[in-house]
């Protein structure tokens, strides 16, 4: 098996072309001066990014309030999700790696559940449960609680349900490698518990905290299945993209996709750089 056959090499090459072909066409047709994202090539344009709408009847994505609002909605979801995932994930990681309590094995197992539940089902179950909660509270308090109805707040909760598992696993993996004698040394030198946490434990965890935060940000930004079930009147980016793709795509979607790809590429390389410290 040491000398790969020509056929095998050919297959590898074909595979990687297959892997990148869809991304390549998305990027290329963002610059095509045509009202449709399809061949033939009609010349290079930036109209779909920064155009005012005078050429194709639709403004470029960076000029279009629809796209700008939807990106803002995505950020309004992704930032709270990332912050909560890192904070709660750290506490969970501590429970998993350091604490002893009855039912810990059950807790460790249950924590993995959200990863095996299809996203659509996470979405509908949270939608149904929080509607019941809202109806109950409405009867009881005589006011409607908007946060429990479909909308950004519910999307945050829905995404958090499974992103928390991932954040916890990332942080727990790092905490497992921690040498506890470092903490003991700090205690022996007279540091208080909060000081040890701030100067010894958290700095050691920080690559995992940043990594978990970036992964959470990305997963939230790109989540579609769970979000679709919980969306209210202000859709995040994937929902808007889906709607536009069903209606019939214009190169505006290519343009926004390319921007997302570039942003994600940036985030991913940031993650790769921070996780290098792990090894």
């Amino acid at each position: 098996m040491s000398r790969p056959s020509l056929l095998w090499k050919f297959y590898i090459a074909a595979f990687y072309i297959f892997l990148f072909a869809p991304l390549l066409v998305v990027a290329v047709f963002a610059f095509n001066a045509s009202p449709f994202p399809s061949p033939p090539w009609k010349g290079f344009t930036l109209e779909w990014f920064i155009g005012t709408g005078s050429v194709f009847g639709k403004p470029g994505v960076l000029m279009d309030p629809i796209w700008l609002t939807t990106i803002l909605n995505s950020l309004k979801v992704a930032v709270p999700v990332a912050v909560l995932a890192v904070v709660i994930g750290t506490v969970n990681a501590w429970l998993l790696e350091r604490a002893e309590f009855p039912g810990k094995t059950l807790f460790a197992m249950m924590m993995l559940w959200p990863l095996v539940i299809p996203g659509v089902i996470l979405g509908i179950s949270i939608l149904a449960f929080f509607s019941r909660l809202a109806n109950g509270l409405e009867d009881f308090l005589q006011t409607d609680i908007d946060g429990l109805r479909p909308g950004l707040m519910l999307i945050v909760l829905g995404q958090l349900s499974f992103i928390l598992t991932i954040a916890t696993l990332i942080i727990a993996a790092r905490l497992r490698k921690f040498d506890r004698s470092l903490e003991e040394a700090a205690f022996d030198l007279g540091a208080s518990r909060t000081r040890v946490l701030r100067t010894v434990t958290l700095p050691f965890l920080s690559p995992a905290l940043v990594g978990a935060g970036l992964v959470a940000l990305l997963m939230s930004f790109e989540n579609f299945n769970t979000t679709l079930m919980l969306v209210g009147s202000d859709p995040p980016l994937p929902i808007t993209m889906y709607g536009q793709m069903r209606e019939g795509a214009t190169p505006a979607i290519n343009a926004i996709s390319l921007l997302v790809m570039v942003a994600v590429g940036g985030l991913a390389s940031l993650f790769a750089l921070t996780s290098k410290g792990d090894r």
């Binding site: 892997l19 449709f36 061949p39 501590w94 249950m110 539940i117 659509v120 299945n225 994937p238 993209m241």
Partner: protein
Amino acid sequence: MKPAQRLTLFLLMAPAILWLGLLIILPHVEILILSFSERVAPRVYQFGLGNYLEFFTEPLYWRTFARTAIMSILVTACTLVLAFPIALYIARVAQGRLKAMLLLMCLLPFWVSELVRTLGWMILLRETGVVSYVLQSIGLASQPVELLYNDGAVILGLVYGGLLFMIVPLANALESLEPSVVEAGFDLGGSRWTVLRRIVIPHAMPGIVAGSIIVFMLTVGNFATPVLLGGKNGLWFTEQIYAQFITRFNWPQGAAFGMLLLMLSSIIVWAGLRLSGQSLGTTLRQA
């Protein structure tokens, strides 16, 4: 344990309890209850099996369910076959920088949103798309060819979406295969095929199981790929759940569909784990 310690532990457990209780357990209890409630009058519900009976009596529903299950198994099998040579190459042949680069190049497309990847396939496959255009310009087709909105397109899109989740566990499993064992196989007169079948594949089994389970779960629960690439012919079960919940506002029916999908997904995962004698934790860690 001192009372103060006990309080600290409780405070630290509170977020996890709230998370698993309010976002996972209670919502699933809610859809379980909902799935057994029948509407007898406006805003009046009672316990009954009606939603499940509806599923078995309406051919569209159970056929879509069976179709989703069968196609997901097919997609998982295709993904495994396509990914195996790649994983084997990455794990056993490629060295140093090339190896790292090949693996990184597998990861890259999956950092990009599922919708962007699906958009790419739409641009490639549609009647006015790139493939059709190329076929016409090299003379293989005399008129536009519609490659979108059929089962082939759906399978292609789903296999594409699952590849990474197959390659990584496979490559991890193959990584630990001792070269001397493979050599011994050849020395004892085994052909390439025999060595692959008797040594390499059995050794890769944990990776094969882990990858297959993950790909199957992702495929069964997928929504955007079958709907966008299959169009009206997509007919995926998640779409039925969405239709009941959002379009028709028949939550009890949608909840019953949700429970059925959850059961399908859980049974396949459980069966896969049983057949291979592995636990969920180690399987997820493989990925």
